[in-house]
Structures are given as C-alpha cells and as structure tokens.
Symmetry: C2
Subunit: 257 residues, 2 copies
C-alpha cells in the first residue's frame, strides 16, 4: 500500500520504526511513503526531512509557494536534500480545486489558507500571506467523507468554519490551553494568539467553536504543546474535554473515513 | 553535574529521554548540557540542534571556522537557531593548545584536523580544508588519561596516529566494513574512502591500524553505518572484531578515564 506523509516531524525515525506498514522491505532502504505534503515551513513539520535524505529516489513534496520560499531561503532544507535524494517539488495552488498525491489512490486533497503565523525565519513572519500556513481537507473519494487537518490555527475565519462544519472529522490546533500559558510558565514572552495559535479555553477559544459543530463530527486536538495541561490525563482540563466530546490525539491513532 | 554534548544527532530526543542525568529539572525546560562541541557540519551531527531550539538560554557551540561556514551558509542551522534560543559561537582554533567547555570542569579538549570530507553542501566538499572535519582529544586533567573521538576518518595521517597511540581509549570511524560496501548494496555509487571514511577491512584498513596500538588501549568503533555487517552480533565480521579486541559502541555506553 502507498502512503502520503503529512509533515515530517523531528520524531519521524521513531514513527517509522513503530509502524511496520511503512516498511515494506521490497528493496534496500525501501519505504511505503510515496509523497510528502507540508502545511507550513515550521521546524516541527520539516526537521524530519533531514532523516529522510537517504531515500533511493527524489521525494515528491507538495507545498505552497510561501512554504517553498521558507524552505529554500530562511531554512533551506530543500536545498540540503538536493545534495542527497533530491526533491521533486509539487506546487499547491490555493486557487485550484485541489490535488492528488501520486500513488495514493482514492484520496482528494484540498488546501485551505489559514490565519496563523509562518516560522520565525520566514520573510512573512510579521505580515503573513495566504499560503504561509494551510489546512488540509482530505477526502475519501469513494465515500465523500472528509477529514480536516489544521495544526496551526490563529483564528477561525469563514472558510475554515465552513470546512469544519462539512468534515466528518476535524484534527485541530491544540497547542495551548490558555492564551497566556507560555508567559505564565516562563517559556516565552508571547501569547498563544501572537504565535498563531488559538487557545482552547476562554471567550472565542477553540472549545467554543467545537461546541457549535454537529454532534456527529469527530473532534480531535493535535499539535499539543508540552505546556498544555490536557496532556495530563488526570487534569481538570482533560476532564473538560471529555465532557465536551473532544479527543486528544495520540501516537499511532488511526481514523477511518 | 554539567555535561558537554559532542555533536547533535537526529536521535537527540531519544537520547535525552533515555538519560535522566541530563534532565536535572531545576526549572522549566532545564538541561544539564551546558555546551555543544561539533566535529563537522554533517547532517548526522547537527540535525539534533533543531530539537534543542527551545532552550531557555543561548547555546554555547564550539566549532571550527570551516564548520561555522557550513552551518551558516550551506545548511544554516545556526542562523535558524538565532530565531529561537540563539547561539554563542566559540571558535575552535586549530593552532591553539586546546580549549575548555565552560562549566565542564577538569576536562581539557584538543582539536585534531582529520583527513576526511565535509558535508555535500560544504563549499569545501571537493577540496577539503583543515578544520572541515576534526577529531577530539578529551583529557581528564586529574589523571592525564585521554580519549580520542574521531567519527570521520578518511585516512590515518601522522598526527592522528600519534594521538591514537597516546590515548587510553579510541572511539574511531566505524562507518563501513569494506570499501565497496555501499556500491554492492546499491545505496550509493561511491566507495567508503571517497566519502571520507576508511573501511575496517582490507589492506591499510582500520583494523590493521588498531592491531598496531598498544594492547592496553581500549578500541571502540563508532559512527557505524546501517550497511555495516558488524551491527549483526552473529556475523563473521563481528566475531573478527572480538578476536582482535575491538568493541562496537552501543547507545548509553559509559567510559571512565
């Protein structure tokens, strides 16, 4: 079976080792991953690319123009890969009607520009452009059921809200519980919203939006920072999620559409 | 206790998690690592720096001028870190009489230029300069006993051989068993020597050199490629190492000088 990898985490080596489906062993240094889709140029979504450099063929990598610039200028990992396996860049066109990942049959992909923040080394850091951060609507062509994946959501705009409402499952930005969490814990001087992440709690927070979704929608938080109390399964915040029917993603989670 | 980190592997997160000594927990995001020493600008020695970006203070990083150029031009991870924790670069001077890592008491460090190859993205790739790759002589000031660490050794020159002879323990380049190993397995078109690694077997190979060291010298192979048969504990090659008194390094190995 052929797989698409969405973002390349610094944990990619552990992820590959834990998942035998990704290791078909048809040849030396084989992989079942046939394409990589990036939603932004952040370190936590791209560092794993270095660990994939010894692939036996060029990686097809889907990304927007903004992300391509971040990854060839500010943090030029794609240039580095060119010295190893090579990259076949596939352009994500925000104006188009979506794309397919070659080799992954029966899945239609659609990119959704998000209100968030590009990486600190992006030329657009202080004046974000559409395409610096995207969400992905991933649709099972056979059933028409779609999943929405959006790890960096600074605010929920009209297009994102429409996409959330029509998805069978949403995987949404769970970075911070509260807007001032990073400041209170002394790890940053910035609020969650200032770095492009809508907090879960408080007025206008993610939980208020999730409450308004249809009850049949599966709601899962992802991209959870290690300062977020929901990582503690015994916390009051985690209990609140359970009451509201909101799940916390875990390594190896499988979702069927 | 204060620790120096020599090279930042892509496995750094697993290494930190496995070693509680490195997690003193005196504060949020605390670490016992107080300085980083780099021997070259290769991906396998620098990718872990991305995972150390959320440190609460700038990282003191020791490297030569050549390596600093590789990591600010070809693969500018040090520029990327400047957007996060920051870097305090400490210059390794090949002409000097060594250096100390601030905070790590009782240890004297000495850099040894090696005949090897810088990373593919280095401006010096095809015409290596002294300082592209170094070995480290790490001496316990109290006992005078020294360890030699050299993961990238393309050839053993006079200075390296002298350093090998006077070390209590040598950790040496164990990348490939045979010069044509990468070609035979179809993972590269290059011989081990062409990419700056002296193979273990054959005339003039690493094992011949190790045989000539004093019998009291502890001999350990490091930086072992996943094509090298010595990783298989039941292989004939591994048995040959045992006969010759040569060890294979393992994760978590501790060496006392």
């Amino acid at each position: 079976m052929a797989w698409a990898l969405v973002n390349a985490s610094p944990d990619i080596l552990a992820q590959l080792q834990a998942n035998s489906l990704l290791q078909p062993e048809r040849a030396v240094r084989d992989t079942a991953i046939c394409g990589i889709v990036l939603v932004d140029g952040q370190v936590d979504h791209t560092t794993g690319l270095y660990m994939l450099r010894e692939a036996t063929r060029s990686w097809p990598i889907w990304c927007t123009d903004s992300v391509h610039t971040d990854l060839t200028k500010g943090n030029p990992v794609l240039n580095v890969l060119a010295h190893y396996c090579g990259v076949e860049r596939r352009r994500i066109d925000l104006a188009g009607d979506g794309f397919r990942v070659d080799g992954v049959a029966g899945v239609h992909w659609h990119a959704l520009p998000l209100t968030s923040k590009p990486a600190p080394y992006s030329p657009n850091r202080e004046a974000p452009l559409a395409g610096d951060n995207i969400g992905l609507r991933i649709e099972n062509s056979a059933t028409g059921q779609a999943l929405l994946y959006a790890p960096g959501v600074g605010a929920i705009d009209e297009a994102l809200w429409r996409s959330m409402q029509s998805a069978a499952c949403v995987l949404l930005d769970g970075t911070c519980w509260s807007d001032d969490e990073l400041i209170r814990l002394g790890v940053s001087r910035k609020r969650a919203r200032e770095i492009g992440h809508l907090p879960q709690s408080g007025a206008g927070g993610m939980l208020e939006w999730l409450d308004r979704l249809p009850s049949r929608t599966r709601k899962v938080l992802i991209h959870i920072n290690n300062t977020n109390p929901i990582l503690d399964e015994d916390s009051a915040e985690r209990a609140e999620l359970a009451r509201r029917g909101v799940e916390v993603a875990w390594d190896g989670m499988e979702i069927t559409l």
